[in-house]
Symmetry: C2
Subunit: 216 residues, 2 copies
Amino acid sequence: MTPETKERILDAAERLFSEAGLRTTSLRDITSEARVNLAAVNYHFGSKEALLTAVLERAFNPVNKKRITGLDELESQAGESGPPVEDILLAFVGPPFDAWGESGDRGLRFLKLLGQIHTEANEDVQAVLLGQFKPVLERYTKALVRALPALEPLEVSRRMLFAVGALAQTMLSANRFPQGLAINDLDQTRESLVRFLAVGFSAEPPNVRAAGGGGS
Amino acid sequence: MTPETKERILDAAERLFSEAGLRTTSLRDITSEARVNLAAVNYHFGSKEALLTAVLERAFNPVNKKRITGLDELESQAGESGPPVEDILLAFVGPPFDAWGESGDRGLRFLKLLGQIHTEANEDVQAVLLGQFKPVLERYTKALVRALPALEPLEVSRRMLFAVGALAQTMLSANRFPQGLAINDLDQTRESLVRFLAVGFSAEPPNVRAAGGGGS
DNA sequence: GTCTATATGCGGATAGAC
DNA sequence: GTCTATCCGCATATAGAC
């Protein structure tokens, strides 16, 4: 009947970490919320940090997987030239937005957790997240390089950085301003973001130093 | 000869906070680095958090002041229609980049401190920062609304969020990848960012729901 | 695997002498 | 204003019985 102790701990930790914060939440809080023994955490996970990374992996893997499969599909459908910029960006931005919009508390928890990591996690924890995120970033950068042959790859990487930042900021604001704010029109916000990014990516490079045509 | 105790504490705290992190750095670390007595912090600042906010204000006020005066100048020079989008964005983005490029450790410390706040500060501390930043944000949003009459103010606010995110991400990455990376070409990065944002801001709104003219 | 009890350490803050 | 000594709380982690 009762779920495995390990699951209970993960659930409770996810809830508390996202609500009360990472540092603020003690093992005692978690084990009492999960109604398991204090020592169970160290028995099953080894340490508080190991528990945290387990929570994070469980929470963020789905999003990153969807980003990968989404891009897979786009590329299999597209012709030789690869999918267009706007589609790529939508595939990148979509999954976190979907998670955000999920039913019940799940969506909000996802956002809050993201915010907590961003604002409280130490380097090791962030490294875990980066480990998940890096392959995604690389695949998308590659796709965008192909879609934007006029840009140097370096410039594409820079713009990808801008895009990631814009997305992150949007997510974080969502969690800070609970409701009534502009950002809470999900569809509108996602549309605006994708448009903004697509146009930015398609901009001419600042100074023409690369191949081909005329200088200024 | 020796600087005032209070200054010594501020300097030491700034250094340690930016290097070792906010939570990791204890009062004992700070006072020993500053070679003052442990009790001096509480005597001069009242608490560790109060010390932290003092450090932050000292570090970030200059940047925000420059942003305001920069916009003042632009507006006094411009005509009735106000300054153009690209100039506004440059005035917004420039000061943190300048701080970044400052001689010696100062620039790097600024970045690292920014990163630490972003990743470690609690809500109260972030509120302090927001208090400084909010007026800046509002002034710039207003200027952009004027420069972009085709957009609803709400859409401008959204895009401003994207811009802030892109800038923040750039700053944070700078601090994570010490050197050898794309982002370290300061001028190039700033130029790319401004271009990216300017084009994004000037994009047509996703769907035309506002006043006046033609349909789709 | 689950529990109780406890070791161990750190860190912020303060009392009170000088 | 500056110092020493200390209080106090809390958190992680573990030892060892069941």
